[in-house]
């Protein structure tokens, strides 16, 4: 896919940037105290805070990642939506009000409120930094990869622009400007996702997607008359096969063209050759898309249904919400598998067609191996349960989410803003299902970058909506990264410098320390963003959830609900949760394959998602260590008041 920056996209992007700078400038003079810097003065209206929660939480991973994933693997992508939303139930019912009641600026304050322990101050701050950095990297990489296609400027510019803007947002007016940027972005994201969903339903489903992304590629098949050994005889004797590439499960042939070669998959069952898409990494370092340089735009968009309502050539016209799902469920879709092959010195990634029944797209299993009938082991099932556990328990342990509880006036306002957040985020996640499936059937998938499905879906409906969605995707990164930087700045300047090291500072100096930390963290984020370019970082967000669920949540829950909890128990639980979850992550098969790129190395850990082990371990640790270090004169009330 070749991307051309549209003038409108650039203008809307610039308008958002101007607005963000205006907000920062406007609030800068009013934000001189540490109360103002760390928690926006504590007087944000709960409804504004609720939408800002949504803006904080719905990161690039939520919007681009989930829609992209649903467009590739259907229902399994939606499971992330369900897990991410469910996490808010823990936030609402268990932590919202007590967090507000007990803390001042950071979640470390709340954990430490009963103890005044140096250990808790240090370890909770470290945990905040680790979780926030895990979360920051994919946001920065997302920013860089978005700016390239959308504004037509290089990756590193994207990282630097986002980094600089975020440092301006945070260093001028701290939590106040961050709140309004998140409010704006959260609101826009939900409104425009709804508009896109309405467009999807009005458009209906066509077997040849009809969109403004240009004419949809017409897939052809070449009939095979006979196969003997590696020799194929084709019906069309003018077609010459240049060479054959075979893998364990698939057989491909290369056919020379007038300008570029094409690669076809041999479907022995139906005796046809099927078109593939392919990316060639040449030995000289150049990359070809369907045999041509990227600028030639030979790498077309995909995503269609081969059979709708019993017909292979039809257009449904506008459909209802349930009818849309029914048509997909009862039809057949063309999905794309991926194979990596060696062809001489070149490495070719081939995307081949997989005809998939709609009913299989709408159940779990295309991404997560869970069905024993399809070869899933008990470890695969536990791995899946572990992921869903991390998503469920992680939200209420994310420091950048927890600090938003200090921006409102009272615990009741904290609760109400959480409910607004749940309504907004829940509604958005329902829409992700329709946007993902919409991209899947409307020719909006760029196989070289699944994160682009949502913007490309919007592009199919017109350049205006595309420009807005692109600008919102950017604002999405800005909002989330600002929240992460405020959280990290609180951990360093407030938890560590002010409380742990007990450095005597005036209120002005505390604000200055916070701002300097924000600038330093911002620069680190930019460096990490550039270092991690091109790396598949989608699972880093999942890891951030797993680490937050393991290191922070057991400590939070036990401090609130178990009166025998001791400071040493909290420190031990955070350390064990942090170390065990990170150890499993670093030793997991996903990391070996995706980060270390080690071939033929099997992990000694049978799961990729650590929560199912590390969360219970952190709970056991806090109980055992607390009992061992308990003093006789402990208070008999729990902090939650139960």
């Amino acid at each position: 896919m070749k991307y051309e920056a549209s003038t409108l996209a650039v203008m809307i992007f610039l308008a958002i940037v101007a607005f963000v700078l205006f907000i920062s400038y406007y609030f800068a003079k009013k934000s001189q105290s540490s109360d103002s810097y760390y928690k926006a003065g504590g007087n944000i209206h709960w409804a504004v805070n609720g939408i800002a929660f949504a803006g904080d939480y719905l990161s690039a991973a939520s919007f681009l990642g989930i829609v992209g994933m649903i467009s590739m693997v259907g229902y399994d992508g939606f499971l992330y939506s369900i897990g991410y939303l469910s996490g808010w139930i823990v936030a609402l019912f268990v932590v919202a009000e007590p967090m507000k009641k007990l803390g001042k600026y950071t979640f470390t304050d709340a954990l430490d409120s009963k103890f005044n322990s140096k250990g808790i101050q240090l370890f909770a701050a470290l945990s905040t930094l680790i979780v926030s950095i895990f979360y920051l990297i994919p946001q920065m990489v997302g920013a860089g990869s978005l700016i390239e296609p959308l504004l037509g400027i290089p990756y590193w510019w994207g990282v630097i622009i986002v980094g600089t803007l975020v440092v301006i947002i945070v260093a001028t007016a701290g939590m106040k400007s961050t709140t309004y940027v998140q409010f704006l972005k959260g609101g826009l994201l939900i409104i425009f996702s709804m508009i896109i969903t309405i467009m999807i339903l009005r458009n209906g489903i066509n077997t040849t997607p009809d969109s403004q992304n240009g004419d949809y590629h017409q897939f052809v098949e070449l009939e095979v008359i006979s196969i003997s050994g590696d020799n194929l005889v084709l019906e069309d004797d003018l077609v010459v096969i240049d060479r054959t590439i075979k893998t364990e499960n698939y057989w491909y042939v290369v056919i020379p063209g007038d300008e570029y070669e094409t690669i076809w998959e041999v479907d022995q069952e139906h005796m046809v050759l099927k078109e593939t898409l392919f990316i060639t990494d040449k030995a000289d370092g150049s990359i070809l898309y369907n045999g041509a340089p990227r600028e030639e735009a030979q790498f077309f968009l995909v995503g269609h249904m081969s059979e709708v309502d019993g017909s292979s050539d039809t257009s449904t016209g506008p459909v209802g919400v349930f009818e849309f799902i029914q048509l997909i469920k009862e039809g057949t879709l063309v999905r794309w598998g991926k194979d990596v092959v060696h062809d001489g010195d070149d490495i070719i990634t081939i995307f081949y067609q997989i005809e998939t029944k709609g009913s299989d797209v709408l159940v779990p299993g295309l991404q997560f191996k869970v069905d024993p009938a399809k070869g899933a082991t008990i470890w695969n099932q536990l791995d899946f349960i572990s992921l869903m556990l991390a998503l469920f328990l992680g939200t209420a342990g994310l420091p950048h989410i927890l600090i938003r509880y200090y921006t409102v006036k009272s615990p009741a306002a904290a609760r109400k803003s959480t409910i607004i957040a749940i309504l907004a985020i829940g509604f958005f996640y329902v829409l992700t299902m329709f946007m993902g499936l919409g991209a899947m059937v409307n020719g909006s998938i760029d196989l070289s970058n699944s994160n682009m499905s949502a913007p490309l879906l919007a592009k199919g409906f017109g350049i205006f909506i595309f420009s807005i969605i692109s600008a919102i995707a950017f604002a999405t990164v800005l909002g989330t990264v600002s929240g992460l930087i405020v959280a990290s700045s609180g951990a360093v300047a407030h938890d560590i410098m002010d409380r742990f090291l007990n450095i005597k500072m005036t209120d002005k100096q505390k604000v200055a320390a916070g701002k300097i930390t924000a600038i330093v963290v911002g620069i680190i984020a930019m460096i990490l963003g550039i270092l991690f370019q091109g790396m598949n970082v989608s699972y880093l967000v999942g890891w951030a959830f797993a680490v937050a669920a393991s290191a922070n949540l057991p400590a939070i829950i036990m401090v609130l609900f178990w009166k025998k909890t001791t400071a040493k128990g909290v420190v031990a639980s955070i350390s064990v949760g942090l170390l065990s979850s990170m150890l499993i992550i670093l030793l997991s098969q996903t990391t070996i394959d995706g980060i270390y790129h080690l071939v033929d190395v099997t992990s000694i850990v049978p799961i990729n998602n650590p929560a199912i082990v590390s969360v219970p371990l952190a709970f056991i640790t806090i109980v055992v260590v607390s009992l061992l270090t308990k003093k006789k004169d402990d208070k008999t009330e729990t902090l939650a008041g139960v």
């Binding site: 928690k39 139930i89 709408l362 159940v363 469920f392 615990p411 996640y429």
Partner: protein, 95 residues
């Protein structure tokens, strides 16, 4: 070092009620969420059965989100009601 809480916190007298209610509603959600995860991981085929125009996977998944929204709204209603009751009680006592 002095380290007060975020606001001058006035005990609303409803904290215990709210915390207990929160835990109960949390358990109500956990049961339904656990059911969802167990079906998805142990018997994914079951998710394919038809429910009207959609299937169980879609119905249960969207249903779970709506269930969360409903629980959250009820929780807020009950908490606000209790807070108001306690506020009136306090006013009467003060008089």
């Amino acid at each position: 070092m002095e380290h007060g809480t975020s606001t001058e916190w006035v005990e609303d007298g409803a904290s215990e009620y709210k915390a207990k209610l929160g835990v109960r509603m949390f358990i109500m959600f956990v049961i339904v969420y656990t059911g969802f995860i167990l079906i998805n991981s142990l018997n994914p085929k079951l998710m394919g059965i038809d429910i009207g125009k959609v299937n169980l996977a879609f119905f249960y998944g969207i249903g779970l989100i709506i269930y969360a929204l409903i629980l959250a709204t009820i929780y807020n209603y009950l908490c606000t009601k209790k807070e108001n009751e306690m506020a009136i009680k306090n006013q009467v006592n003060n008089k």
